[in-house]
Amino acid sequence: MADSLTHEQLVAWLAAFRDSVHEHRDHLTELDAAIGDADHGTNLTRGMDAVMAVVAADDAPDTAAGLLKAVGMKLVSTVGGASGPLYGTFFLRAAGAAGDASTLDAGAVLGMLRAGVEGLAARGKAELGDKTMVDALAPAVEALADAVANGADLATGLRAAAEAAATGREATTGLEARKGRASYLGERSKGHTDPGAASATMLVEALADAVG
């Protein structure tokens, strides 16, 4: 029964997200081609490659907060576009919430994710239903919160979070975009899954995999 997030799992999370981004790079770019500018897969690949170079370095920070902050800064400085500041802010805020704990229990993980997602949504001025990554991330946080409130362990909670993210991602398909590039298409954005919601789901799934 996994009840907390170790430093190794934190690193494993990032590695799993990088791998997932690599694997689905073309898919993310195709989703972005349909309602955006065909670079989301490329952007995240570039960013996560740079992140993993930091994580693998000898002088990589050894606290959760330090590592998350380094990840956020690296994303901000290598990704660009919309997803750079958004994912960057997610990790920077998560770092702030992590405090100086080296192992995060379920409540701490929830606090960290919530802070990250709130920071991201604030940065993007996005609300639920705008057809963005928030549509995957916010339900994930709520699912984790419910699980923790019901006494589930972290692994179970994160599995529920990943499922909620996927459900949120699927729901973006029917929506008309109000934020980001897809909003320029108006009505025509309907019928396409949001690329950021797809990558955000991968981010939560990677965390669930790293812990579970």
Partner: protein, 332 residues
């Protein structure tokens, strides 16, 4: 994908090498992907920086030079540059009179420039103002959405506001002029073909041989809708009508930009400009100055956009002031 490139991942870095080799008047910081003037402007003058994803050449690097920008930050193709680039450029170009950030209204650009402003403020105390261009009438204007895209007016603004900074106007004056120019510009674009993003390797959208995308931006995003491919005279209406419907351009002189998207040759742009001027004339719009050519492009996309800017004597005077950049040069 047929392009004159090597590895798609190297397109930006390698094209900046060519920019540096071609233009002795520019200095390229390759590590930070910033294009500067070789000769910084005099102390006490407001500096202008802009930036954005690559793929819109000559915008922005081609507009660095006396009378226009002080620096341009280049992002990957269609990807906003990052806050640290912008902050680096901001501190470097500041001559003690503050820096204007010229930002096209895209979520990524806006957020990255926002973070850059925070960094610069925290860091060195450079006074930064920001103008966000949002001239694309194809996009519905609403406070609940990302709002309109910044397109062609950005070019005109960089020229006009660059002249004001060059003659020594202070940051307040420069920023408020920038806002005035931004407010007075409207654009509309159409595409005959998609562009192909190098890293994607194939056209962003498929478009049948007998259709055009109406209301496209400059990133290969599909437009608002498709229409049958007709003759240039009807297409000119599709550019002119929505622009005129959105803003009154009959009150004073107008600056017009008939812009090519990168894959459309000049002979077609001139032909389109002939059509556009006829329509503007009938509508009572007086075109006092114009540009026809590839100024804000979308890689290899075939298509065109029209930008109109409501001007006045002051704006025309600044427009006519000397400029010496790779992309625009006169009077110098």
């Amino acid at each position: 994908m047929k392009k004159l490139i090597n590895d798609p991942a190297d397109v930006l870095a390698e094209s900046l090498r060519g920019v540096a080799a071609a233009h002795p008047g520019l200095r390229v910081d390759h590590a930070n992907r910033i294009v500067y003037r070789a000769q910084a402007k005099a102390d006490g003058k407001v500096a202008l920086i802009s930036g954005g994803g690559a793929g819109h050449e000559p915008l922005h690097g081609g507009f660095v030079g006396p009378g226009m920008l002080d620096a341009a930050c280049a992002g990957e193709v269609f990807t906003s540059p990052t806050p640290d680039q912008m902050a680096e450029a901001t501190t470097t170009v500041d001559r003690g009179a503050g820096v204007l950030h010229i930002v096209k209204n895209y979520t990524g650009d806006v957020m990255n420039f926002e973070m850059a402003g925070e960094l610069a403020a925290a860091d060195g105390g450079v006074e930064v103002r920001t103008v966000v261009t949002r001239d694309d009438v194809a996009v519905e204007d609403s406070t609940y959405t990302a709002g309109r895209r910044g397109v062609g007016v950005t070019v005109l603004l960089e020229k006009i506001v660059g002249a004001a900074a060059e003659e020594g106007q202070d940051l307040d004056a420069v920023a408020s002029l920038a806002q005035r120019v931004s407010d007075g510009g409207r654009s509309m674009g159409i595409a005959l073909t998609s562009c192909t993003v190098p890293s994607a390797g194939r056209p962003t959208f498929d478009l049948p041989d007998d259709e055009i995308e109406v209301g496209v931006g400059i990133h290969g995003e599909p437009g608002r809708h498709r229409e049958p491919l007709t003759g240039a005279s009807q297409i000119a209406r599709q550019l002119v009508d929505p622009v005129l419907a959105d803003h009154d351009f009959t009150a004073g002189p107008t600056i017009a930009l008939l812009n090519g998207m990168g894959g459309t040759p000049l002979i077609e742009l001139y032909l389109m400009y002939g059509e556009v001027t006829s329509l503007l004339e009938s509508a009572g719009v007086e075109v006092a100055r114009c540009l026809v050519g590839n100024y804000i492009t979308s890689l290899d996309m075939a298509g065109a956009s029209l930008t109109l800017l409501a001007a006045d004597e002051e704006v025309l005077r600044l427009w006519d002031a000397p400029v010496s950049t790779p992309g625009l040069r006169w009077g110098a």
